[in-house]
C-alpha cells in the first residue's frame, strides 16, 4: 500500500535531515507504522481517513526538528582508538624496517616500495571504511565469487614462483570476511543453509591447496569453524544447535584424524618441538631461531649460539626484514623490542575483539570477528615461528614486517573493521524469510540414525 502523499512528504523531510542513508528505510518503516496506528485510532474516534491522516502527521511534531534529533542519534562514530593504533603500527613498522632494510639484499628497494604501498594501503583502508560494511551482507555471494574469480585469474596470468602461485595467495586472506557475509545471508535456511556454507567454504579451501599455502589453508579452516560456530550459537539457522555443530565439526575432525595418520606430518610436528633432531634439515630454521632467541638480552644486542661464533646474525638468519624480523630485532635490540612490537599488536587485537563482542547485529559481529581473527592468526603464527616453533612459513607480521601485498590486504581488512565499528551500533539485521525444515534433519529410530537432507 502506498503511503498517503502527506505522510510521504513528512517522512521525506525527516530523512533529508539524516545523513546516514542506510538507516532511512528502517526509520521510515517505524515512523510510518506509528502514523498508521495514530490514524486508525482517529478513524475509530469517528474521523474520516483524510482528516485522520492529517491529524496523525501533525501529532508527530515538526519533521525538521525530529529529523535533526534522529540525525544526532544515528551518527556514525569513528573508533579513534583503533585508528590511532593502526597508525602507530604503521609508524612502528616503517621505523623498524628503516633499520633492517639496508642489511638485506634488495632491502632498500623493498623498503621504498612498502612506503609507497603504505600510502596506497591507507587509500584502500579509507575506501573500505567509507563503503559501508553492510554490503558484505547484501551482496555476499557476488563478492565471494568475484574474489574467487580474481584469484583464479591471478593463477592463470602470473606464473608460479618456486611452484607456488604467490600473488594469488594474498587475497585469500580476504575470504573469511566475505564468508561471514555468506553465513549471514544463509540465516533461517535450516540445515541446508549450514551445508551450503560448507560448500561455499570448499572454494577458498581448494584454492589455498592449489596455490599451495598450508598456513592459509589452516587459517581458512579455523575461521570457517569460528564463524559458523558463532552463527549457530546465535541461532541464525533456526536449527538444533548440537546437530548443526556436529554437521560442522565431524567432517573437520575426520579430516584432522586422516591428516594425523600421515607419517611425514607427524615427523614434522616432532621437529617443531625439538628442531635439534634435524638441525641441518627441516629443523634448521627452528634450531637457528631458538639459538638466537636464547642468546637475546633484555636490552641491547644478544649473543649468537656457540657453534655460530664468529659469524654475523645476517649471515645465519635469512629474511631478517620479513619472515624473521622479530627474531632479528630481538637479537639486535633485546627482548624490549620484541615486547614493544608484540604488545602493540596485542593491544590492537584485544581492543578489536572487545569491540567485536559489543556488536549487536549478527552481520557486524561475524564480519568484525572474521577480520580480527585474521590479525590474531597472522600475529600468533609469526611470533611462534620467530620463537623457534617452525612448521609452516609465517604470513607476515601485520603492518610491521616487509610484505607490500599483505600490507594492502591488511589495510583493506582494517578498513572493513573500522567501518563495522563506525556504523555497527546502528545496524539491525534484516528480516530473512522463515524456511523451517518440515522434518527433523537427524532422527534416531529403532537404533538407526536417519539423516534427512530435505533434497526432495
Amino acid at each position: 500500500m502506498q503511503p498517503h502523499e502527506k505522510v510521504k512528504q513528512y517522512l521525506d523531510t525527516i530523512c533529508e535531515q539524516i545523513r546516514y542513508k542506510r538507516i532511512h528505510n528502517e526509520l521510515r518503516e517505524e515512523l510510518e507504522n506509528h502514523i498508521t496506528d495514530q490514524k486508525q485510532a482517529y478513524i475509530a474516534q469517528g474521523m474520516d481517513e483524510e482528516t485522520g491522516t492529517f491529524k496523525a502527521v501533525e501529532q508527530m511534531g515538526d519533521p525538521v526538528m525530529v529529523g535533526t534529533q534522529l540525525d544526532r542519534t544515528h551518527k556514525p562514530k569513528p573508533e579513534w582508538s583503533m585508528i590511532v593504533l593502526t597508525l602507530l603500527l604503521l609508524l612502528t613498522g616503517t621505523f623498524i624496517r628503516l633499520y633492517t632494510a639496508p642489511r638485506e639484499t634488495n632491502g632498500l628497494e623493498l623498503f621504498y616500495r612498502q612506503l609507497l604501498f603504505t600510502v596506497v594501503g591507507i587509500g584502500l583502508m579509507t575506501l573500505c571504511y567509507k563503503v559501508d560494511f553492510t554490503i558484505l551482507g547484501e551482496y555476499s555471494s557476488i563478492l565471494f565469487f568475484a574474489l574467487a574469480a580474481i584469484i583464479v585469474l591471478l593463477m592463470l596470468v602470473i606464473n608460479p614462483v618456486d611452484g607456488r602461485f604467490i600473488y594469488a595467495s594474498y587475497p585469500l586472506l580476504l575470504f573469511p570476511a566475505l564468508f561471514a557475509g555468506v553465513v549471514y545471508s544463509m540465516s533461517n535456511r535450516g540445515y541446508s543453509g549450514v551445508i551450503l556454507c560448507g560448500i561455499y567454504f570448499t572454494i577458498p579451501l581448494i584454492l589455498s591447496l592449489l596455490i599451495p599455502n598450508i598456513t592459509i589453508t589452516l587459517f581458512l579452516t579455523l575461521s570457517y569453524l569460528v564463524i559458523l560456530t558463532i552463527a549457530i550459537q546465535k541461532k541464525r539457522f533456526k536449527v538444533n544447535q548440537h546437530h548443526a555443530l556436529l554437521l560442522v565439526y565431524v567432517p573437520f575432525i575426520i579430516s584432522f584424524v586422516v591428516a594425523m595418520t600421515n607419517n611425514n606430518l607427524i615427523y614434522r610436528l616432532k621437529i617443531v618441538f625439538t628442531p635439534s633432531l634435524a638441525p641441518m634439515g627441516v629443523g634448521y630454521m627452528g634450531n637457528i631461531t631458538r639459538g638466537i632467541m636464547k642468546g637475546a638480552r633484555l636490552i641491547g644486542q644478544g649473543a649468537l649460539p656457540e657453534n655460530l661464533q664468529g659469524l654475523t646474525v645476517e649471515q645465519v638468519l635469512p629474511l631478517i626484514n620479513s619472515d624473521f624480523l622479530l627474531t632479528y630485532i630481538t637479537h639486535r635490540f633485546g627482548w624490549i623490542a620484541f615486547l614493544i612490537v608484540v604488545a602493540l599488536l596485542e593491544l590492537f587485537i584485544i581492543r578489536a575483539f572487545v569491540l567485536c563482542a559489543r556488536q549487536k547485529s549478527v552481520l557486524a559481529l561475524l564480519v568484525s570477528t572474521a577480520v580480527t581473527l585474521t590479525f590474531a592468526y597472522q600475529t600468533l603464527g609469526f611470533v611462534v615461528t620467530n620463537c623457534g616453533f617452525y612448521l609452516f612459513a609465517p604470513l607476515s607480521l601485520p603492518l610491521i614486517s616487509q610484505s607490500s601485498h599483505y600490507l594492502l590486504v591488511n589495510m583493506s581488512l582494517i578498513g572493513i573493521l573500522l567501518s563495522v565499528y563506525r556504523t555497527g551500533h546502528m545496524v539491525h539485521d534484516k528480516r530473512f524469510p522463515e524456511k523451517p525444515d518440515r522434518r527433523p534433519f537427524l532422527t534416531i529410530e529403532d537404533g538407526r540414525i536417519i539423516i534427512d537432507l530435505h533434497l526432495d
Binding site: N33, D62, R431
Partner: protein, 115 residues
C-alpha cells in the same frame, strides 16, 4: 492540567523504562500507555520518543525485535535489558530523592537544617 514540558523532559527516560519493565511494547503503544496511565497528563510526541528510544537502544538499555502486526506490517518492539533495569533503578532513586527534597521545601520546612 497542562504540565510544563521542562518538568517532563528530565524524567521521560525513567517513564519509558518503567513501561518496558512491565512488558515489551512498540513506539505508538508506549505513548498510548503513558497517556492512559497518567490520566492524559503525559502526552509524549513521537518526535521526542523515537530519538530517545533509539539512543537508549544504542546504549544497550533496551533492545528491539520485529514482529508481524498484520499481513502488511511489521512492528518494531522494544524490550528492556538488564542494563536498562539498572538504569531504571538509579533513575527512580534519583527521582525519589529529588521529589522528597522539593516537597520539603514546598512545605516550608528545611531539609538539612541541623547545624
Amino acid at each position: 492540567m497542562e504540565i510544563d514540558k521542562s518538568l517532563i523532559s528530565g524524567s521521560t527516560t525513567m517513564l519509558l523504562l518503567k513501561l518496558l519493565e512491565e512488558k515489551d511494547m512498540y513506539g505508538y503503544q508506549m505513548i498510548e500507555e503513558l497517556s492512559t496511565k497518567s490520566d492524559n497528563t503525559f502526552s509524549l510526541k513521537a518526535g521526542t520518543l523515537y530519538p530517545l528510544l533509539h539512543s537508549l537502544e544504542q546504549q544497550g538499555m533496551v533492545c528491539c525485535y520485529e514482529s508481524e502486526a498484520d499481513s502488511a506490517r511489521v512492528r518494531k518492539y522494544y524490550s528492556i535489558t538488564k542494563k536498562g533495569k539498572g538504569l531504571l533503578r538509579d533513575k527512580k532513586a534519583e527521582w525519589q530523592h529529588f521529589a522528597f527534597a522539593v516537597n520539603q521545601v514546598l512545605k516550608g520546612g528545611t531539609v538539612h537544617a541541623t547545624t
